[in-house]
């Protein structure tokens, strides 16, 4: 089980990599085993990962390789069975209690009984913000995801892409420095997906947030990321970490450039190698 250490050279934030103040995620030898009726499932096995401030890190790999599980461990939705992990220098639980991150699920998971504005207000109500502050953040974040004017609509009156944008606005409204996204565009069609990819890239570029993004689309990962973590299944582990030094500001055209294709090729090779492992 050779684990290739996640290196953190040349992060997009431009800070020195070793500086702990810039370290957002630090995981060492992380293991997570689910006890099921069919015996133990090794969802994560000896995973090492570092993520620095301002990076855009994608987890890519075939389904069942532990991408979601790793993201959930970071979010303290799941507890690792072994190894250490810190988020912003704290335990994941402390980070969660401090509302250090915003989480975007694969489905929009909006409350059907709340309007779009009401849904974005939900975390703000829980945090106990006052009304004026809430109104201001709702307006600003809906603007950010191009949903101004839809405040009073109910989720089920909106298209899938709009619902997912609303759920991103809901995560952003917490104003976290860290954004955790689990295949947020997985259920959308390619055209909407391209559009949202561009918007997400701009958002990340403007706000300088750290983003951890789960996907199983190679072009999406290469287009968005500064670092791509290639994972492989049974047991779930990190197979390779590929740097992605494209310019921060990207348009969809970049997908035709040789640099882009070169990285995409390496990711594909990594995925294939991860699978080959499986067949032995």
């Amino acid at each position: 089980m050779t684990d290739i250490q996640a290196t953190d050279a040349a992060s997009g934030a431009g800070g020195t990599a070793e500086d702990d103040a810039f370290r957002v995620i630090e995981a060492r030898e992380l293991c997570l085993t689910f006890e099921t009726n069919d015996g133990p499932v090794h969802a994560l096995s000896n995973v090492d990962l570092t993520v620095d401030r301002g990076e855009f890190v994608s987890f890519i790999g075939p389904s069942g390789c532990g991408k979601t599980t790793l993201l959930r461990v970071i979010a303290d939705l799941e507890k690792a069975t072994a190894g250490t992990i810190s988020v912003n220098g704290m335990s994941p639980e402390e980070a969660r209690r401090k509302r250090a991150y915003g989480y975007v699920f694969q489905a929009a998971a909006l409350y059907p009984w709340r309007t779009i504005a009401g849904n974005v207000a939900l975390p703000l109500e829980i945090m106990g913000l006052d009304k004026a502050e809430r109104a201001e953040r709702i307006a600003r974040n809906l603007e950010l995801v191009n949903l101004s004017g839809f405040e009073r609509k109910f989720p089920w009156q909106l298209s899938g892409g709009m619902q997912q944008r609303a759920s991103i606005a809901r995560a952003l409204a917490v104003e976290p420095d860290l954004l955790l996204m689990d295949e947020p565009f997985g259920a959308l069609d390619e055209i909407v997906r391209d559009h949202l990819n561009e918007q997400l890239n701009q958002l990340w570029d403007r706000t300088n947030k750290t983003v951890i993004f789960v996907t199983h689309s190679i072009p999406e990962a290469v287009f968005l990321s500064t670092k791509i973590v290639v994972m492989s299944p049974r047991p779930g582990r990190v197979h390779d970490v590929i740097d992605c030094n494209l310019p921060r500001e990207r348009t969809l055209d970049i997908r035709e450039t040789p640099e882009f294709l070169e990285i995409a090729h390496r990711v594909r090779d990594g995925l294939r190698a991860g699978h080959a492992y499986d067949d032995e």
Binding site: A75, L77, W113
Partner: protein, 369 residues
């Protein structure tokens, strides 16, 4: 489907002709102008049904003529209750078939009209059915002279109802306003509160869910004699029965509803580090609403049944159940039917208002959108 329409028309037409023929042939039959009127209107209806088959306008016109024909037919009963000849029955059958034809036509027409008109037609159809049910009930009981104790005519029940309004009102107050309301509010309230408490302990929940489900299927109404012994003859003992009957459906449904929210929704609340009460108020109780309303609706019927049936085991001399059991004993069946009409009205109004509240509170639920 399209063939069945001419069939009813054919049968109805034959019944009509047969009725007239019998009337003309038999020497001792009394002819009356209302027969002639009804027969003419029915003949017109069938003609209309044959020549103008499609569209809402045709269906409505047919509906109108059919109902016009019913008036002289019913009016004719006054000429001799229980002594109606075969022509009367032939006309009645013919009228019913014509009404059925008009309902079929309306159903077909409803497919091709805008939604708002469709809704109106969908309300009209069961209404027409109800009207004809009562018409036939009236025509048969009075036409054939069915003894009052067996089945009173709707008109007799109505007359009794109007004449006994003060008694019926007193019974309603005793049974519904006191026993049902008090028992319902207490039973549902305690069931709900217990569910909220039990929900915090997975162990209790595991143990109580099957027990509660089983108890909900038991004939709890049997505790009525015990409650009468404990709480006396007045409404308190009936309320106690209602409390027991409504408690378990509420407990079980609320518990089920509280676990209805998806794992993803609960994870979302966790990422916000939401407290137990925040998750309960903002997520789980809202998701539980459809389940809670389900219990409220089941309980509305159970509560009325509980209160009425417990009165069979002893009451002061007022109350819906008391009235039903004593009037049955005296063979005043029309009064029993009047009381049942009040109970039916109260029950469906109770249920209907719950449905309205549910619609406004759970407008977001896929079943209501």
């Amino acid at each position: 489907m399209s063939r069945s329409v001419p069939l009813t028309v054919l049968a109805g037409g034959i019944a009509l002709l047969a009725g007239l023929a019998i009337q003309i042939i038999s020497a001792d039959a009394v002819w009356s102008p209302s027969y002639g009127l009804a027969a003419a209107l029915l003949a017109g209806s069938y003609l209309l049904a044959i020549v103008w088959r499609h569209g809402a306008a045709a269906a409505f016109l047919l509906l109108a003529t059919v109902h016009l024909a019913a008036i002289p037919l019913i009016g004719h009963i006054g000429h001799g209750e229980g002594e109606m000849g075969p022509a009367y029955w032939a006309l009645l059958i013919s009228g019913w078939l014509a009404a059925w034809t008009s309902v079929t036509r309306l159903t077909a027409a409803a497919r091709a009209v805008p939604p708002s008109a469709k809704q109106a037609i969908n309300l009209l159809i069961p209404f027409v059915f109800g009207v004809w049910l009562i018409l036939i009930w009236e025509a048969v009981t009075r036409g054939a002279g069915v003894p009052q104790v067996l089945l009173p005519a709707p008109s007799a029940v109505w007359a009794k109802l109007i004449a006994s309004l003060p008694i019926l009102w007193a019974d309603f107050v005793q049974t519904f306003m006191k026993a049902v309301i008090a028992g319902y509010v207490l039973g549902c309230g305690i069931g709900f509160g217990t569910a909220i408490l039990v929900d915090r302990s997975p162990f209790l929940k595991r143990g109580l869910m099957p027990v509660g489900n089983m108890v909900s299927a038991l004939p709890i109404i049997g505790v009525a004699p015990i409650m009468v012994m404990w709480f006396g003859f007045d409404w308190q003992s009936k309320a106690a029965v209602v409390v027991i009957m409504t408690f378990f459906p509420m407990l079980v449904n609320t518990l089920e509803g509280l676990s209805a929210s998806s794992a993803m929704q609960r994870d979302l609340m966790r990422t916000y580090a939401a407290s137990y009460s925040q998750t309960l108020l903002k997520l789980r109780l809202v998701e539980a609403l459809p389940f809670i309303f389900n219990a409220l609706k089941i309980n509305s019927t159970l509560a009325l049944i509980g209160a009425i049936v417990s009165e069979f085991f002893g009451t002061p001399i007022v109350g819906m159940g008391f009235r039903i059991s004593t009037e049955v004993g005296r063979m005043n069946v029309d009064m029993v039917w009047a009381e049942i009409a009040v109970a039916a009205l109260a029950g469906s109004a109770f249920y209907g208002s719950l449905v309205l509240i549910e619609r406004t509170l759970t407008f977001w639920h896929p079943s209501n959108r």
